[in-house]
Amino acid sequence: MEEKYLNIKIKLKRNNEIKLIEYKYKKRTYDERPMALDVLLQAQEEQYDDLAFRYGCRARNCGVCTIDVNSRPKLACRARVREGDILSAIVTLPVIKDLVVKRDGITRQMKGYNNIPKKNDLNEDADKLYHNLTACIECYACLDGCPVHAKNNIADIKKNDAYKYGNPYSFLKIQRLLIDPLTPDSEKHKLIDKAKRLGLEIYRREYNSFKIKCGVGINLKDEVIKPLLDAAYGDEIEKQNK
C-alpha cells in the first residue's frame, strides 16, 4: 500500500529571514507521482496563500519555473518529487521572496548587443547549430556551476542593475548571432568584444574544471563556449602552440 502523503520541505525567504516549512502533500490518486509544481500549487491552496513562486506553461516550454530541488536547478513543472525533498529558490540569482528570484540583471547586461547592421537577403538558411541554440528556453539552470557568473556580486533586488559578468545564456545569445547567416563578417568583432567584456576569458582558464548543465539538453560547452573561445582567442592559442 502506497502512502497517501508526501512530506516535502519548502524553503521560504522573507525580509532576509529563512524559514524551512514542511508541507504534507496529499496525493490525489494512490499512484500519483507529483511534480514540484504540483506540491507548490497545493501548498498555496491549502495552507500558504502567500507562497511566492513562478510558473507559466506547465509544459517545459516557458522556462520561468526553475527552482532548486535538493540543491539542483530543475524546472518545477517537470521535476518529480520524492519523500523528504527540499524545494528552494535557485542560489545563482537574488531571491525576491520565497522561490522567486530577480532575473532581469541578465537581460540588462545584453542591452544593445545585437544592434548591428544585417545583410539584406533574408532567404538564407541557418545552420543546424543555429537552431540547436534557439532551443534554449532561458531557464537559467546553466548558471549553476558557471565560473564567470560566479564572479558577480549577487545584485541588490532594490536596484535594476545589469550584471557585469556573463553566463552560458548570455554567451549563447552572442554565439547564436555569430553563426546567424544574416550577420556580416564585418560586425563579428563587435560581438566577440562583447563576449570578452562579459568575462569570456575566465572560461578559457577554467575550461577543464567547470561543469554546467542545460535545462533542455543543449551542449553548452561544445556549441557555445568552445566556439566563442576559438573565435576570440584562437589566434593566440595557435601562436602558443607554434
Binding site: 496563500d49 516550454n61 532581469d104
Partner: protein, 654 residues
C-alpha cells in the same frame, strides 16, 4: 505606505506586455527615436508566443495568386462574417512585411531554394484557401528569442519586469461630440523592488494577452492570461467586442494533475474511425475527424451535463478501431505520432503506454486556448469607445491595443497560424500609432491625477478581512468553467452574473498584508479583479449572442442559421457605471459563397458515412490508400489551433 515608495517616471510610449505583440510595438516606437518603457509581469518575452507551435501565416509564401483580397476574405469568412473588414484588410496588407521584420530580428525559417522563399508546410493548413503557413524549428521558442532580441536592441527602451500594470491614467476633455478621453500614462506595481511607478506618457499600448487562465487548469496557455488586457481596456472606457468568442480545444488532458489542460490531440487525431464515447461506452460523436472543435466540445459537455461524463468531467476519445483494422491499422500509429508530435507526447506521458498505442480510449476534455474577441480598435489599433451610439466610434486619445488583446480580426473562428501574424502586424501598427500620437502631444507634467487614481489601489494594501484572494481566484476559475465555459445556457450565464456580484462584494472582506516587496496577496487580488471584470464581459456578451456561433456554444439554443444577419457583440461600461451589451451589425458575405461552403460540408459528411456503411474489408482498403496518400508526402504536421487539426471547421464555420 509612504510616498517614498512612489517612483516618478516619464516617457513617450508605455508598452504593457513583452511578448510577441509587445516586442513589435517596442520596435515600431523605438525606431522613431522615442523613449519607450516596457512593463511586464512575467519575465521578458515569456509569453504565449514563446510556448506556441511557431507556425505563422505569410501571404504569398506558397504562390503569387495569394493576393491581399484573397487572404482578407478568407479570414472574414472563417470568422462567420464577424470580423471588421478594415482590420482583415490591414492583416492581409502587412503580413509579408511583418514576417520579414521578425526575420531581421533573428527568426530563421527553412528556405525553399527553388522559389527563394521560406518553406511552407507540406500540406496547406486547413481553412486557408492557399498554402501560406510557415513553420519553424523549436516552434514558439524561436519566436521567444526573436521577441527578446527585439526589446533588448534599443538604447531608448527601458524595461521593467515583475511589474503589474494597474491602471491606465486618463482624463476627460471636451471633444466635438461631448466628452473625450485622453490618456496620461499608467500606474504600475513593481513587485520586485516594492515600488509604485507613476509613469507619465501620452501613449499606452495594451499588449498583455488573453484570458484563458479564467479556466485554469483547463487551459494550455500561460498562467499570466488573467484577462488583464480587457479589464484595463474597458476600465479606460473602451468597448469590448465578441467577448463570448473563446476558442476551446476539445481534446485536452483531464489527468493526471500535472498534465491537466495540456493538448492531447485535435479532431483530426481521431482519424477515420475514431469516435467519442461517454462513460457508458455509448458513442456520442462519430466521424470525429470531420467535426469542428466546437462540435466536439459540445458533444463532450452535453454528456458531462447529463451525468454521462468521464471521471474527470470529460469523455473518451476511442481510436481503437483505427489500430485494429487489418490493413490500415499499421499506418494509423505512424499518422498519430507524426501529425501532432507534441500533443501525442503529452498524451503518452500522461496516460501511459497502452493509451500511447491507442489500445485504450483517451480521457479528454476541452481547454481554453485563445480569445478571439477583445478591445475594439480601428485598423491602426486605436482603441474605440462608443459614447452614445455604437455605430459612431470615438477614438480614445493615446490608447492602443493589439494581439490577443484586440478584437475585430477573427470574429467567431480563427484559422490556424494566424495569431502570430496578428501580433506581428498589429503590434507594429500599435507602436507606430503610439509614436505618432506621442509626437503630436503636449507632455503632461502633472502627477496630481496619478495620486487620485492610485488612491483606490493604495487601499488594497493592508486589508484586514478574512478571505484569501488566492482562494477566491480558484473558486472563480471553477465557476467560469461551469458557467461561461465551452457549453453555456441562459440559466448558467445568469447564475454567473449573480455569482460575480457576490464575489465583488467579497473583495471588501479580503486579507492583504501591507508589505511592499512581492506582496503575493495583492498580486492575486489585482489579477482576481481583472478576471472578474473579464468574466462579466464574457457573460454579458454571451447573453447577447442568442445562438451558437463559432466558439460560443449554447446547449439550450440552436446554431445560428446561415440566413441570419451577422453581428458582433459589444460590451461597455455605461453612464451608470454598469456593464451593458449591444449588437453591432456586420456586413454579410454574398449568400452564394456561403451556400458553396455548405454544399462542400454536406459532401464531406456523406463520404464519411459511406465509409462507415461499407463492409470492413472494403473500407479498410480505402482507408489504407488514404493513409498512403497523407504519409507519402515528406512531412505531415498538424498544428494545434489550426484548421488542419479540425478539418470540419473549414466548412462548417458559417
Amino acid at each position: 505606505m509612504t510616498s517614498n515608495n512612489i517612483e516618478y517616471l516619464d516617457c513617450d510610449v508605455i508598452v504593457v506586455g513583452s511578448g510577441g505583440t509587445g516586442s513589435q510595438a517596442v520596435q515600431a516606437a523605438a525606431e522613431e527615436g522615442l523613449k519607450v518603457i516596457v512593463i511586464s509581469k512575467d519575465p521578458m518575452s515569456s509569453s504565449d508566443t514563446k510556448i506556441c507551435e511557431g507556425v505563422i501565416t505569410v501571404r504569398e509564401a506558397g504562390d503569387n495568386t495569394d493576393t491581399e483580397e484573397v487572404l482578407s476574405e478568407n479570414i472574414k469568412l472563417a470568422g462567420a462574417d464577424l470580423p471588421d473588414k478594415n482590420i482583415t484588410v490591414a492583416f492581409a496588407n502587412d503580413s509579408k512585411d511583418a514576417y520579414d521584420r521578425l526575420r531581421v530580428n533573428g527568426l530563421r525559417p527553412s528556405i525553399n531554394k527553388e522559389k527563394n522563399k521560406p518553406k511552407t508546410l507540406a500540406i496547406a493548413m486547413g481553412g486557408h484557401n492557399k498554402s501560406r503557413s510557415v513553420g519553424h524549428k523549436n516552434s514558439g521558442v524561436a519566436f521567444g528569442h526573436t521577441n527578446w532580441d527585439t526589446i533588448i536592441k534599443y538604447k531608448n527602451v527601458e524595461y521593467f519586469e515583475d511589474c503589474w500594470f494597474l491602471e491606465v491614467v486618463k482624463e476627460e476633455i471636451e471633444g466635438n461630440k461631448g466628452k473625450d478621453i485622453k490618456v496620461l500614462g499608467g500606474i504600475v506595481y513593481d513587485a520586485a523592488r516594492g515600488k509604485i511607478l507613476f509613469i507619465n506618457a501620452p501613449s499606452v499600448v495594451i499588449a498583455s494577452g488573453g484570458l484563458s487562465s479564467l479556466y485554469f487548469p483547463k487551459t494550455d496557455t500561460m498562467r499570466g492570461n488573467t484577462g488583464d488586457s480587457y479589464a484595463l481596456g474597458i476600465k479606460a472606457g473602451a468597448d469590448l467586442l465578441d467577448m463570448e468568442q473563446i476558442q476551446f480545444l476539445p481534446f485536452c488532458l483531464a489527468s493526471p494533475p500535472s498534465y491537466e489542460g495540456l493538448l492531447a490531440g485535435e479532431p483530426s487525431t481521431a482519424s477515420f474511425l475514431g469516435v467519442l464515447r461517454d462513460k457508458n461506452n455509448k458513442v456520442i460523436l462519430d466521424s470525429v475527424y470531420l467535426r469542428t472543435r466546437a462540435e466536439c466540445s459540445e458533444a463532450i459537455m452535453r454528456a458531462v451535463e447529463d451525468g454521462r461524463g468521464s471521471p474527470n468531467g470529460g469523455a473518451f476519445l476511442d481510436m481503437t478501431k483505427n489500430i485494429s483494422a487489418p490493413k490500415s491499422g499499421k499506418y494509423f500509429m505512424k499518422y498519430l505520432k507524426s501529425a501532432l508530435p507534441s500533443a501525442y507526447n503529452n498524451a503518452r506521458q500522461a496516460l501511459g503506454k497502452e493509451a500511447g498505442k491507442a489500445e485504450i480510449p483517451w480521457e479528454v476534455r476541452p481547454s481554453a486556448h485563445y480569445s478571439m474577441g477583445g478591445i475594439r480598435v480601428d485598423e491602426y489599433t486605436r482603441v474605440i469607445h462608443s459614447a452614445e451610439n455604437q455605430y459612431e466610434p470615438i477614438i480614445i486619445k493615446g490608447l492602443f491595443a493589439a494581439g490577443q488583446a484586440m478584437g475585430g480580426l477573427f470574429g467567431a473562428n480563427r484559422l490556424g497560424s494566424t495569431s502570430l501574424t496578428e501580433l506581428a502586424v498589429f503590434g507594429y501598427r500599435a507602436g507606430k500609432s503610439a509614436a505618432k500620437n506621442a509626437n503630436q502631444s503636449v507632455k503632461n507634467k502633472n502627477y496630481d491625477i496619478f495620486h487620485k487614481h492610485y488612491f483606490n489601489f493604495k487601499n488594497l494594501f493592508n486589508k484586514k478581512g478574512k478571505l484569501k484572494p488566492y482562494k477566491l481566484k480558484l473558486d472563480l476559475q471553477k465557476k467560469c468553467w461551469d458557467n461561461i465555459g465551452p457549453a453555456r445556457t441562459e440559466k448558467k450565464l445568469k447564475k454567473m452574473l449573480t455569482y460575480l456580484e457576490k464575489i465583488e462584494k467579497d473583495l471588501n472582506n479580503v486579507n492583504v498584508p501591507k508589505e511592499m516587496i512581492w506582496n503575493q496577496q495583492f498580486l492575486d487580488l489585482i489579477e482576481l479583479k481583472n478576471m472578474i471584470t473579464t468574466a462579466k464581459a464574457i457573460a454579458i456578451a454571451s447573453l447577447k449572442r442568442e445562438k451558437s456561433v463559432g466558439g460560443h456554444v449554447r446547449l439550450d439554443k440552436k446554431t445560428s442559421s446561415l440566413f441570419s444577419k451577422p453581428y458582433s457583440t459589444l460590451v461597455k461600461i455605461n453612464k451608470n457605471n454598469a456593464f451593458e451589451a449591444f449588437k453591432l451589425l456586420r456586413q454579410k458575405t454574398p449568400l452564394k459563397r456561403i451556400i458553396n461552403y455548405k454544399i462542400s460540408e454536406k459532401f464531406r459528411f456523406m463520404k464519411a458515412k459511406i465509409l462507415r456503411i461499407l463492409p470492413e474489408s472494403i473500407s479498410d482498403k480505402i482507408i489504407e490508400n488514404k493513409y498512403k496518400n497523407i504519409l507519402g508526402t515528406d512531412q505531415i504536421t498538424i498544428k494545434p489551433g489550426s484548421l488542419d487539426g479540425a478539418p470540419g471547421d473549414k466548412v462548417n464555420q458559417i
